[in-house]
Symmetry: C2
């Protein structure tokens, strides 16, 4: 790896936390405009991404308890974001389905960022796009795993 590449990599690693922070803030602003909590919005993304439709699994991915997820679902139904449906195979379970009702509103709120992303991506060639996409998808799973196994630093404190 060449020196300037190392510099670029360092700069990117430093830019990452701030990027995440500000983007999360943007999501919070969108959620507020929709009179909805950021967690509800995050859940909506998971639902539309087809990641899962199981309450327990969704709660885990969202980082909340199943108890909190019950109220979360209550609110999402109230806000016409999703709905409960019985699971025919297991009467204890239920499946969560996203509702299309407020998608237009959501798209409008995301418009500024969508435009930015679109313009930015249009300037990249195939290799650059592949790198970016790979970084995002692998980073997602890495973050989910890392969040579940954050190293215990008790010994650092106690030492």
């Amino acid at each position: 790896m060449l020196p300037d590449q190392r510099e670029l990599a360092t700069a990117a690693a430093l830019a990452l936390p701030r990027f995440v922070g500000s983007t999360a803030l943007f999501h919070a602003a969108v959620a507020e405009r929709m009179a909805v909590t950021p967690t509800e919005l995050h859940c909506l993304h998971l639902l539309h991404g087809g990641v899962s439709d199981s309450p327990t699994e969704l709660a885990r991915l969202l980082g909340v308890t199943t108890g909190a997820f019950t109220r979360l679902l209550d609110r999402m139904e109230l806000h016409r974001l999703a709905e409960r449906a019985p699971d025919p195979a297991d009467r204890r379970r239920l499946v969560v389905r996203p509702l299309p009702d407020r998608m237009a509103e959501l798209a409008e709120l995301y418009a500024p960022m969508a435009r930015f992303v679109g313009e930015r991506l249009a300037r990249l060639d195939r290799r650059q796009l592949t790198a970016l996409l790979g970084f995002l998808t692998d980073g997602t799973t890495a973050a989910e795993q890392a969040a579940a196994h954050v190293p215990d630093v008790t010994h650092v404190i106690s030492s």
Copy 2:
């Protein structure tokens, strides 16, 4: 733009919200391990990035009111993350300074993600790194501006 490039761009745009969500969750997990709120951690990143040292400006960047930031600062001082210092030029103001005390602990908690990012970036060439870095930095400012000017959708609701 070729068809497969368009597909890649679309995929990247879809992967972005989930990436942000899961990464934010990882940050929340790190914050919890440090017995600290995610907002405190976000503020710490801003301080170490040298973005600003003004309470009002930091509150704006964090998306909280100045009132909430006062308690936030109280907690950060309590947790040895930052400290208040008087502004010699203006006795109304104060300067927020990050403390190095718990940086080792923080680095250890970030280690898994840092390793992933490092390995992932090492595989990219100069053009790819430049594209990624540009996307992150420009995306940060775009998100901050977009968060401040989220379009009003009242007419959508009322219609």
